[in-house]
Amino acid sequence: MHISDGVLPIAVTIGGYAVSAGIAAWSARRIHSRDLPKVAVVTSAFFVASLIHIPFGPTSAHLLLPGLAGALLGPAAFLSISLGLFLQSILFQFGGITALGANAVMMGVPAVICGWFFQYFKGRTKARQAFTGGLAGALGTFLSAVFLAGLLMTGGEDFFGVAKIALIAHVPVIVIEGVVSGFTIGFLARVKPALLQPVRSFHD
């Protein structure tokens, strides 16, 4: 879920922009500048993937994918996610333009954490990689939900109820996201294991 315009206090939106600009600069420095166009192309793949709807009982959910982005892109995931959110905002109005910085922090920081988590624990066997990928997927969505609740709560105690409901609404998404991420990582481990190496995906 993306935060729309007008929800967050103005100081938080500006602070979000400042923090995300700093992390984006760090993220851009972690990869070769020659590889930035490639990050852009991969971002559009993640964007399209996040539009796929997963059936869930009578309704359906769409994936957020911070965990997978982190596992595949490493530190570049922050850049990729900020770019994706910018496009979602200007194309679909998902997430307001003033809240863009806060949204990037909310989705991008968990992605980078998940990247570390995945690279640290993935081990060597395919089954373990798939399992770790699943955990990373669930962790990414969980952390995003926690960030979302935290950001909403900066609006004062009037927003505590909304924050609580946003957290609860994310529980099924966390489960679906974990399962799908696990299967996807398992698929990649079988089909193209080079993608799961730390940030080497661009340097072969």
Binding site: G6, L8, A49, L87, I97, S181
Partner: protein, 308 residues
């Protein structure tokens, strides 16, 4: 103003005031949203066709089309932040009116504006339902109690708060179409880079915007293939596994494509820059228009500040 006002309402007001409007909103808004999207894919999935930014509709007609792109970006972003900082419903409603007037003056595609409004409806609808029920009770609040249902307390302060947020979000969202589609995306990004945003950021936006369409097309072809093999989405493990493989395949193809794209770019002499889309020049009319917007934003913020 110190104690909490309770207003007892007969129980039959509940359907009248809450349930019927909620049901109408829950039914009509998604229906209109579906109608507003032109369907390309004959399936149950929501159709996320990537809407074009800046079609030729009304190109160069309105004042906003002719506004210098740098002035436009800076002014409208600053104005959006000014709107986001408003705290009172009346000020937010005034901002919404201003946005509507601008929308009419900008001569942009009404259809795309509608899509933006529908995209917002879910989040704002959630706030409008949740906030009246969960906002903590402060002295001076007014609470509606429906008959004997004393657990269902509708706090009017929550209603006002959610409505203020909704008005602000709508006021800003309505400005996005005049901001973005009154110039082609490369020109807007060129304006951003002339304003000090790193060149590379703009290039990445352009590239991923372009490949968005490529991957949407690819995903659609893969979906068609899956359907031809009899795949149907259900709530079960097999569906999740099939969709996960589908995602994996999109990623594999995208990573392979990046190599080819990059090779092709280098073969055409890419040296870290795209050619500039045109020359920008600020004229008096641009500054005048910026002045009008700044005045409007300042007036709104002052009005909000003076009102206690």
């Amino acid at each position: 103003m110190t104690d909490v006002h309770h207003i007892q309402v007969p129980l039959w007001y509940l359907p009248l005031l809450v349930l019927i409007p909620a049901a109408v909103a829950a039914g009509v808004v998604p229906w209109l949203g579906r109608r507003a999207r032109t369907r390309v894919v004959p399936e149950k999935d929501p159709d996320w066709s990537i809407p074009p930014l800046a079609d030729s509709h009304g190109q160069g007609i309105s004042l906003i089309h002719r506004w210098d792109v740098r002035c436009k970006i800076v002014t409208m972003l600053a104005y959006s932040f000014a709107i986001a900082s408003l705290r009172h419903l009346s000020a937010a409603a005034a901002a919404l009116c201003v946005s509507l007037v601008v929308l009419l003056a900008a001569k942009v595609s009404f259809h795309k504006v509608l899509l933006r409004v529908f995209a917002l409806a879910g989040f704002l609808g959630m706030l409008l339902v949740v906030m009246p029920l969960t906002v903590p009770v402060h002295p001076g609040d007014t609470i509606l109690v429906f008959g004997s249902l004393d657990w269902l307390n509708v706090n009017l302060r929550g209603v006002v708060l959610a409505a203020t947020i909704a008005a602000k979000a709508m006021a800003i969202a309505l400005l996005m179409e005049p901001l973005l589609s009154t110039a082609p995306l490369p020109v807007t990004l060129h304006g951003l880079s002339r304003l000090g945003v790193p060149d590379m950021a703009g290039q990445m936006v352009l590239l991923s915007y372009r490949y968005l369409h490529v991957f949407t097309h690819e995903a659609r072809r893969m979906t068609a293939g899956m359907q031809a093999r009899g795949f149907e989405k259900k709530t079960n493990m097999a569906t999740l596994r099939a969709l996960a493989n589908f995602l994996g395949m999109i990623f594999v193809r995208s990573f392979e494509r990046t190599e080819r794209v990059f090779d092709a770019m280098q073969a055409r002499g890419y040296n870290g820059r795209f050619p500039d889309p045109g020359h920008l020049q600020i004229q008096w009319l641009d500054i005048l228009q910026t002045g009008v917007w700044v005045a409007a934003g300042t007036a709104l913020v002052l009005f909000d500040y003076v009102k206690v």
